[in-house]
Symmetry: C2
Subunit: 418 residues, 2 copies
C-alpha cells in the first residue's frame, strides 16, 4: 500500500470510529482511560524496551541531549503518563450536555448540545508522552484521533498505541479510535493534512517551524500555538516586593517554557527603586539582562538591548527590560512585540488593572500573578492539549471542552414556518 | 498603488480600527448602528441612483434575472436594511462579559472574558443588502470588517460604505472599521486571503464555487457554509398529519434556500398510509417527486430516483423520497448523503427522538418541527451572518456571539507558581 492510501484508509477508519465514540457513555470512556493507565504501568518494561530502540537510533542520528531527554521513557515518565490518564478520567465529561436552552414564542425549545469534534489529527515531535496525553484527552472528549509523532519515537509510539488499542478492544470501543501513523516518511504529514473530508481538526505541537509548515500545508482547520513572548508590566505605584517575586517566578522558575516572561516593562517612576533589587536577584540566578537605554543608565553593569531583543522568545535565562513612560506605552509595546500569549500587570491601581485586562489582546491576561499560570491545570481546565494563540474556536489553554463543539437541538410539537 | 498594496493598507488600517472598536461601549456601537439606519433611509434616492449604475452594467453583462433581482435596491430593500440594523442595535452586546468564573485553591480568580475576534473579511456575491447586514453584525460584536462584494455591486456598495463611514465618523468611531474593497479585479480576493497577519477570520457567503475557492486559497481561518442537503425522517408510528404538514412546509414554503428539505425518508411501516396523501399535496403544489423503488411501487405516477438524486441540493420544487427499513437506515443514509446542515425526525417515540438527536451529526437537529427553522432569527440568535456546516468555532447559525471569542482573565494578589 502506498503512503497516501495508508493515510486515507486510516482517516476513513477514524471517521467510522468517531461515530461510535460520539455515542459512547462517560462510564465507558473513563473505563478505557483507566485501563490504558494500568497497562502502561504493567507493561512498562516492554515500553522501555521499545523506547531503547528509538534511543539507539536517536544517538546514531546524533540528536541533541535535550531531544534525547524528551524522547526517553523511564519509570518517572511511565508514572506521569499513567497518572495523567487517571486525572483525565476524573474530569467532567462535557459531551451531551445541553446549554443556552430557550423557549421560542412558537413553543420550540432550542438548546445547544455539546458534541465531539469528530476526528482530530495531532502532529508533534519525538515526545512519546504526548502520544498518551493527546490520546487520553481526545478519547475523553469522544473523538477519534490520528497521531503523528516525530519519526525518532516511532517504536515507542507503536508500543503505546498497541496498548491503547488493546484497552479499547477490551472495553468494547472501536480500536481505530486511536491510530498512529506507522511510517517515518514526512510525506505522510502532507497526505494527512489533505484529508479534509475525514479529519475535522489538526493540532500541531512543537516548534515554530513545525507549526508554520502545518498551517501552510493544511486544508483542514488548524489550532495553532505559536511562540510565547510574554510580558510583565510593573506599574507606577505597584507593590515592588510583589513585583519582584512575580517577575522572578515568571522568568526563573522554568525559563524554557512558553509562559515564561521574556520582557519586563517598568513604569519610569518605579524603575529607580525597583530595578536595582530586581537585577541583583536576576543576576544572582544567572539571568542575563538586556536593557533599554534608561535601564542601562540605572543598571550600568548590564548590556544594551538591540531591536531583535524585543520580539525574542529566549526560552532561556535571558530577559529584555524596558522602562516605559506610562501604561499606554506598555500596552502598545506588547501589541507590537507580543505574541498574544500571556501578559501580566503588577499594579495597585484599580482603574489601570481594569484597563490592562481590557486592552491587552492576549489569550491570558493576569493582574498581580505570574505568567506561569497560563496552563490548563493551573487555570482549572484539567489537562491541556496545547495553548491556542489564535482566536478562532479557542484562545488560550485548550482542555477537554475545547476538543468539542456544539450543535443545536430543537424540540417541537408540529411547528412549521409561517 | 497596486491592488496588493491597496489591500495590505486596508488590512493594516482595519487592524488599527479593530483595537479601537474592541474598547468601544455598547452605547456607542448601538448609536452608530441606528445612525447608519437613518442615513440609509434619508439618502435612499442617492443609494438607488448608484444602484442603477450597477443594474445597467449587470444588464449589459446579461446577468440572470435572479442575479439582477438580488442586486436591486428598491424601497423595500432600503426598509429591510434599516430595520435589520435597528434589530441588531437592540440585541445584547456580548463583549466584555465574564463567564465560567472559578476560584482556584491558591486564591486566583479565573474567568473567560468575551472579546471581539478582531478583523473579519467577508466575501460575497452581488447582494448589496449583505454589505449592511454584515457590517452591522461585525460592528455590534466590536470587530472591524473588510467587505468584498461581487464586482457587479461595486457602486451600490461604495454608496453604502460612504454612509457607514460618515456615521462612524460622526459617532467618534474609527472610519476604517468598515471598508469596501474598491476594485473589481478578482486578484484582490487572493491578496485579501493572504493577509493572515491582519485578518482573523474570513467568511465567504455565496455558492459552493465561491466557498471552495476561498477555502482552497485562504491562509486565514475560514468559517464555511456549504450546501444544505436537508432530510426529514418520518418515523414508524409518527403522527402522519403532523408529518405531512412539516414535510410540506420544509419543501414548499421556500424551496430555494439552504434549510429547505431535499430528501424525505419514510419508515416502511408508515409509507403505505403516508405517501399517497403526501404525494397528492406535493404534486398539487407542483413538486416533482423522485422515489426509490418502494416509493415508486406505492406511487406509480412518479419517476425513479437515480444515484445523483440522493446527495442533490435541488433548491427547487423537486424532492427525493426513500422508504427505509428502520431508523438506523435513515441515520446512515443521512450520514452518507447529508451535508451536516439540518435534519428533522417526525416521531411519537421518546427513545427514538432522543437517539436521532444524539446520532445525527448536523448543525441543527429537530424533533417534530420543520427544517426551515434553521435560521438565526428563528432560533433566537437575532440576525445571522451565515450558517456554519463545519464544526470548529461555530456549528449552525452564527449570530453576534459567534463573531466574538474569549480570553482568560486572571485576578491575583501576588500568586507565583510553586
Amino acid at each position: 500500500m502506498t503512503i497516501e492510501s495508508t493515510i486515507k484508509e486510516m482517516a476513513r477508519a477514524a471517521r467510522i470510529a468517531s461515530r461510535k465514540m460520539a455515542g459512547c457513555s462517560s462510564v465507558k470512556k473513563n473505563e478505557v482511560l483507566l485501563k490504558i493507565a494500568d497497562k502502561i504501568e504493567k507493561e512498562s518494561s516492554y515500553i522501555k524496551e521499545e523506547n531503547k530502540k528509538d534511543l539507539a537510533f536517536a544517538r546514531e542520528k546524533k540528536l541533541s541531549g535535550a531531544m534525547i531527554e524528551r524522547l526517553t521513557i523511564n519509570d518517572s515518565t511511565i508514572k506521569s503518563m499513567a497518572d495523567g490518564l487517571r486525572e483525565v478520567a476524573h474530569l467532567n465529561d462535557p459531551v451531551g450536555s445541553l446549554s443556552e436552552t430557550l423557549q421560542r414564542p412558537n413553543g420550540l425549545s432550542v438548546s445547544k448540545m455539546r458534541i465531539p469534534l469528530g476526528v482530530i489529527g495531532i502532529i508533534y515531535e519525538s515526545r512519546p508522552n504526548v502520544t498518551i496525553d493527546a490520546a487520553g484527552l481526545c478519547l475523553k472528549a469522544g473523538n477519534a484521533v490520528i497521531l503523528r509523532g516525530g519519526s525518532e519515537a516511532l517504536n515507542s509510539n507503536k508500543a503505546l498505541a498497541a496498548l491503547i488499542s488493546r484497552a479499547l478492544d477490551e472495553t468494547g470501543l472501536p480500536k481505530k479510535a486511536v491510530q498512529i501513523v506507522p511510517v517515518r516518511d514526512r510525506a505522510a504529514v502532507n497526505f494527512l493534512l489533505s484529508e479534509e473530508e475525514f479529519i475535522d481538526l489538526i493540532i500541531p505541537r512543537g516548534g515554530e517551524g513545525l507549526i508554520r509548515f502545518v498551517v501552510e500545508n493544511s486544508k483542514i482547520p488548524v489550532l495553532k500555538h505559536y511562540k510565547g513572548v510574554c510580558h510583565v508590566y510593573v506599574d507606577e505605584g505597584a507593590d515592588l516586593k510583589m513585583a519582584e517575586d512575580i517577575c522572578f517566578n515568571a522568568k526563573v522558575q522554568r525559563p524554557g517554557v512558553c509562559n515564561a516572561m521574556e520582557t519586563m516593562l517598568v513604569h519610569k517612576s518605579a524603575a529607580q527603586n525597583f530595578l536595582p533589587y530586581m537585577a541583583k536577584r536576576f543576576l544572582k540566578a544567572g539571568v542575563e539582562i538586556r536593557g533599554c537605554l534608561e535601564t542601562c543608565r540605572i543598571l550600568p553593569e548590564i548590556v544594551e538591548a538591540v531591536q531583535d531583543d524585543w520580539p525574542a522568545e529566549y526560552l532561556d535565562l535571558i530577559i529584555a527590560v524596558k522602562v516605559v513612560e506610562d501604561m499606554d506605552q506598555a500596552v502598545s509595546h506588547i501589541s507590537k512585540h507580543g505574541s498574544s500569549h500571556t501578559e501580566a500587570i503588577i499594579t495597585s491601581d484599580y482603574k489601570r488593572a481594569r484597563r490592562f485586562v481590557q486592552e491587552v489582546d492576549s489569550s491570558v491576561v493576569l493582574v498581580n500573578a505570574s505568567t506561569r499560570f497560563n496552563d490548563g491545570g493551573q487555570l482549572g481546565l484539567g489537562a491541556e492539549i496545547g495553548i491556542s494563540t489564535s482566536k478562532l474556536h479557542a484562545f488560550g489553554p485548550m482542555g477537554v471542552d475545547e476538543l468539542t463543539t456544539t450543535k443545536f437541538v430543537v424540540f417541537g410539537n408540529g411547528q412549521i414556518r409561517e
